[in-house]
């Protein structure tokens, strides 16, 4: 279908502000009388606050007040692994215990130095398997695991069970969680090649570039909070609840967010923003809380590490007949997550496994605040699976591309424990297109070619994430000026989805983009509920809502035109910001005129009557506040059917130096299969950014903790090994299949997360290829592992070690 705006590049309205430095992040605001908060954080990885004596600090000149966990939770802290605003029961080194407000940060720091904190040091643990073993320490006060609806519990294996797992065997203990489909036994019996191995993938921090600084003040009983988020409207209601203020008295201001990657999607993962809000309420002054890089490391989120075992069987023709997976997931000191489950579901989706079993046990460690991080689970497991696919191809005498095509998801296919159908799926097309763009046929002969100490490796990777939701609301207004105001609560995160999804409304109304305003940036601009902008779903979810709201507006415009100019609404069409009779286009009204007329009519035309019943709370509040201010399009999105996938394929070629263990990425091409392309430049950015993240997962990033004291050793950018310009290729090829999805009105699905998984998979496969098919069964594969392998040195002193060096 030919669109005017969908599929075309444009300059998102915030970009000039980004290149000039004019756009404001939370820390860039100031207010008269503003004071500063600093945090006293836990000096131990696990402890219990016994006493806080702040009398000396509070008597200091320039100190305005203190906020403790007792202030925040007068009835006691919630019993969960979730991150608290402040805590008396830290399970992380550096977890915030209290905050002090003072006239400047130095005074606040001095006050904190004067506070006497008595804390009981409790035993800590860094590796889930150490905690699982009988006699091992527990990360939490109530045990080492948290069971939904039951609470804290203790999960222990015998020493033999742990040792057997560490030495490469299937775990024998009963798992906390499991699902299964198909006939696993029959699948393995029918397999010609069966591969069984243990594996591990590392946890590591999100390290968004903008620390989660926040500033708050109260005015006329309302709380104004400048903060950071992936979605303003998804955050608003739960954040108001954390602050303890009714939604109608809470204003969240968030013009730009300096990176989220899954960790700023929900209020529960950024509760620290409530600290300045509550302090400000207590001392009646605006409070700025700047968060340091180290604090951001501690509370800013981390990927779950996985320790696992897989057994996978392939039939003679290369089809994946059976897959058995068992994981121990690292829930860290706070948070948790479903990485292992998503990993298994991802394998099912990508390789169309005929029979599958998944088992998982989640165990806490005093390391990191775990939660969703870009493609949680799927992106780790693809790095493990890609070299295994290559091994299967080699054993069965198949081309590496062919085995992937054979197992690829296509239209009509299903995946996961409930055999959920895809809304559409074109993985074979994506593989074909990427192979052509990369010139697989021309290059594949270079696999394992040597030149002196250098050896070439080629890799193919695939990525997947469920990429679309529904049930949100759309809200637009046509103003008497003729301009269209598109209210959108999607956060300004760098995906530009807030703007690109808004274009679906302009598309329906055939409006020039220049005559449209995206209304966002603060909740008192009255936003509809939108997706949390996580799970790669914004493009799918919010084009549906913007499209629906525009259709509602269009129907109202036609009704008004028919009312005033005669005939039936169906007799009218639109173009050039005019609505006119199809039979006589001189009989019509401009958009400005129809908006004006709608305002005169009021009622349902201006949001004062006949609202969709199912509107979400925030949307209903926004509509009530906007009622009467324009001709309104209001829409509640019904649920969609099936699973909208985001698929990616990456091909890469590397040259690995066997003397140093280092490699260079010579070529990399990623192709997306994400339905209709809405915003090509934005999509290319997601593919390139995802590639950089994939490189980080595959070869660089991991948590490191000092085993003696539990101190994090990777709290800065340098030590956490965020990929730099020099770790990434100087050019990454991109492409897309661009075939529409039937469950989205413009045919679009999301892509942000799978863009990473395909690269982590391709790169691990390329390293394995360069080393003659050696399987490291781990991510990241670091230079020291490569060089040890080449030197024939045993790679692991402690197999499957988490949050520490392996050797």
């Amino acid at each position: 279908m030919a669109y005017r705006l969908i599929g075309k590049d444009f300059v998102p309205p915030d970009v000039p502000g980004k290149v000039t430095g004019r756009i404001k992040y939370a820390e860039d605001y100031a207010r008269d009388g503003m004071v500063y908060a600093r945090l006293l954080t836990s000096p131990v990885p696990h402890g219990r606050v016994v006493a806080i004596d702040a009398s000396e600090a509070l008597a200091m000149d320039g100190v305005y007040g203190i906020l403790t966990a007792d202030d925040v939770y007068p009835d006691g802290e919630p019993q969960s692994t979730g991150l608290k605003v402040l805590t008396n029961e830290p399970t992380l080194m550096g977890e915030p215990i209290l905050a002090v407000a003072a006239r400047d940060e130095k005074t606040a720091e001095n006050a904190i130095a004067a506070i006497s904190l008595t804390i009981e040091r409790l035993p800590f643990v860094l590796d889930p398997l150490d905690s699982l073993q009988e006699g091992g320490e527990n990360a939490y006060n109530g045990g080492n695991t948290f069971i939904f609806r039951q609470g804290f519990a203790e999960e222990k294996w015998t020493a033999d069970q742990v040792a057997s797992f560490r030495s490469g065997n299937e775990p024998t203990a009963e798992a906390q969680q499991s699902w299964e489909y198909g006939d696993l036994e029959a699948g393995f019996a029918a397999s010609d090649f069966v591969h069984e191995t243990t594996f591990s993938t590392a946890g590591y921090p999100h390290m968004s570039m903008e620390p989660r600084s926040a500033m708050a003040y109260w005015e006329n009983g309302k709380c104004y909070l400048h903060g950071t988020s992936q979605s303003l409207s998804a955050i608003a209601e739960p954040m108001a609840a954390i602050v303890g203020v009714p939604l109608e008295d809470f204003v969240f201001i968030n013009e730009a967010t300096g990176g989220g990657f899954g960790q700023r999607a929900r209020a529960g993962s950024i509760p620290s923003m409530a600290i300045p809000a509550k302090l400000s309420q207590k001392i009646n002054r605006p409070v700025m809380m700047r968060v340091t890089r180290e604090e951001e490391f501690t509370i800013g989120g981390a990927r779950q590490g996985l320790q696992g075992w897989v057994k996978v069987g392939f039939k003679r023709d290369g089809s994946m007949a059976a897959m058995d997976m068992y994981c121990v997931s690292d829930n860290g000191g706070k948070g948790g997550g479903g990485d292992a489950n998503s990993a298994a579901a991802g394998v099912s989706a990508l390789y169309q496994t005929e029979a599958m079993r998944f088992r998982n046990t989640s165990i806490g460690t005093n390391t990191g605040h775990r939660g969703a991080q870009r493609g949680p689970g799927e992106n780790q497991i693809m790095a493990i699976m890609a070299p295994i696919m290559d091994k299967a191809a080699e054993e069965l005498g198949l081309d590496r591309l062919e085995i992937r095509k054979l197992n690829a998801a296509q239209n009509g296919d299903v995946s996961g424990p409930r055999s959920t159908p895809f809304t559409s799926a074109y993985m074979p097309e994506a593989l074909e297109q990427a192979a052509t763009q990369f010139d697989w046929e021309g290059k594949k002969g270079r696999s394992r070619q040597t030149n002196g100490t250098k050896v070439r490796g080629l890799g193919i990777g695939q990525g997947y994430h469920n990429a679309g939701r529904s049930g949100m609301d759309g809200l637009i207004r046509l103003m008497p000026s003729g301009r269209l105001q598109i209210h959108n609560g999607v956060g300004n995160l760098g995906t530009y989805s807030y703007a690109s999804t808004s274009r679906a409304a302009a598309e329906v109304l055939m409006m020039e983009w220049e005559n449209c305003d995206v209304v966002t940036g603060r909740t008192d601009r009255h936003l509809p509920i939108t997706s949390p902008q996580d799970g790669s779903n914004s493009i799918f979810t919010n084009t549906r809502t913007c499209f629906g709201a525009a259709q509602d507006l269009l129907a109202k415009m036609k009704e008004i035109a028919a009312m005033d100019l005669g005939g039936d609404p169906a007799d009218y069409e639109i173009d050039g910001s005019r609505i006119y009779q199809i039979a006589d286009n001189t009989a019509g009204m401009t958009y400005a005129e129809v908006a004006q007329r709608g305002m005169e009519l009021g009622g349902k035309f201006t949001g004062e009557a006949e609202l969709p019943e199912e509107l979400n709370t925030l949307t209903a509040l926004s509509v009530s506040r906007l009622a009467g201010t324009g001709l309104m399009g209001i829409f509640h999105d019904p649920r969609h059917n099936d699973n909208p996938p985001g698929f990616t394929v990456t091909f890469t070629e590397i040259e690995l130096d066997k003397e140093t263990g280092k490699f260079e990425i010579l070529d990399m091409v990623t192709v997306a299969e994400c339905g209709t392309v809405v915003h090509p430049q934005g999509l290319a950015n997601q593919l390139r950014g995802g590639a950089v993240w994939g490189i980080g997962l595959s070869v660089l990033e991991r948590h490191l903790y000092d085993p003696q004291n539990g101190l994090p050793a990777s709290s800065g950018y340098w030590q956490s090994k965020i990929p730099t310009y020099l770790d990434t290729p100087a050019q990454i090829g991109t492409g897309w299949v661009d075939l529409p999805d039937p469950e989205n009105p413009v045919g679009a699905r999301g892509i942000g997360e799978p863009s990473m998984g395909a690269v982590s998979a391709a790169l691990n496969a390329a390293i394995s290829d360069a080393l003659g098919g050696h399987l490291f069964d781990t991510a990241p594969v670091t230079t020291d592992m490569i060089i040890n392998h080449i030197a024939g040195v045993s790679e692991e002193a402690t197999p499957l070690a988490q949050n520490n060096f392996r050797g």
Binding site: G21, D104, M209, G258, T495, Q681, R688
Partner: protein, 194 residues
């Protein structure tokens, strides 16, 4: 630097100097510091974006703090405040420098340029800024001012870099969004139009 300033005091000072949005007189009171007796000049003049600005600067104050919290130039970002990320990059006599790791006192006879100083008087964007818009180089934008300043510095010393030279020249700036390729596209385009 004041030889008596220990590293710890320096770091504490950095934290403190990042915190003050009020007038400099209040700043001294706020920090419990008496004006020093002559040892270090406090009120200094710095050339920032072509203008001489008078500013009251503590001995241990970083340039990023002065720009952001004394002069209101919040385009200069702090990603790490410890010389690891480049979000705070400004030009000091045309050389890209981490403003979080430069003492303001050390630049008093130098030309400092921040992202706010790049646009022409008529509002036209600098060629690097325009190229970054055209290539949609930024994602979240938090590293962008630093990337812009590094690119401007690079193109002043090497107006026609190869892509590899640009990559090396920009290597001091981390982008967690991974927009490196898009920034390099921007640098190469700016070299063409600049």
């Amino acid at each position: 630097m004041n030889p008596k300033l220990t590293r710890r005091r320096f770091i504490k000072g950095v934290i403190a100097s990042g915190a003050v949005a009020t007038s400099t007189t209040i700043w001294y009171a706020a920090n419990g510091q008496a004006r020093p007796a002559g040892a270090v000049e406090r009120m200094i003049r710095i050339n920032i974006n072509g203008q001489m600005r008078s500013v009251d600067v503590a001995p241990q104050e970083t340039l990023a703090s002065t720009l952001r919290y004394k002069l209101g130039l919040t385009g200069t970002k702090l990603g790490c405040n410890r010389g690891e990320c480049g979000a705070c990059t400004v030009l000091v006599d045309d050389i890209p420098s981490y403003a979080c790791s430069v003492l303001t006192h050390s630049v008093k006879n130098k030309r400092v340029e921040s992202v706010e100083g790049l646009e022409a008087a008529n509002g036209d964007l600098h060629p690097v800024q325009q190229a970054f818009v055209d290539e949609l180089s930024p994602q979240c934008g938090y590293c962008t001012p630093g990337q812009v300043m590094s690119a401007v510095g690079l193109l002043r010393s090497n107006p026609n870099p190869t892509r590899e030279e640009a990559r090396q020249g920009m290597a001091g700036n981390i982008c967690r969004c991974g927009s490196y390729d898009s920034y390099l596209n921007g640098v190469m385009r700016a070299a063409q139009i600049g």
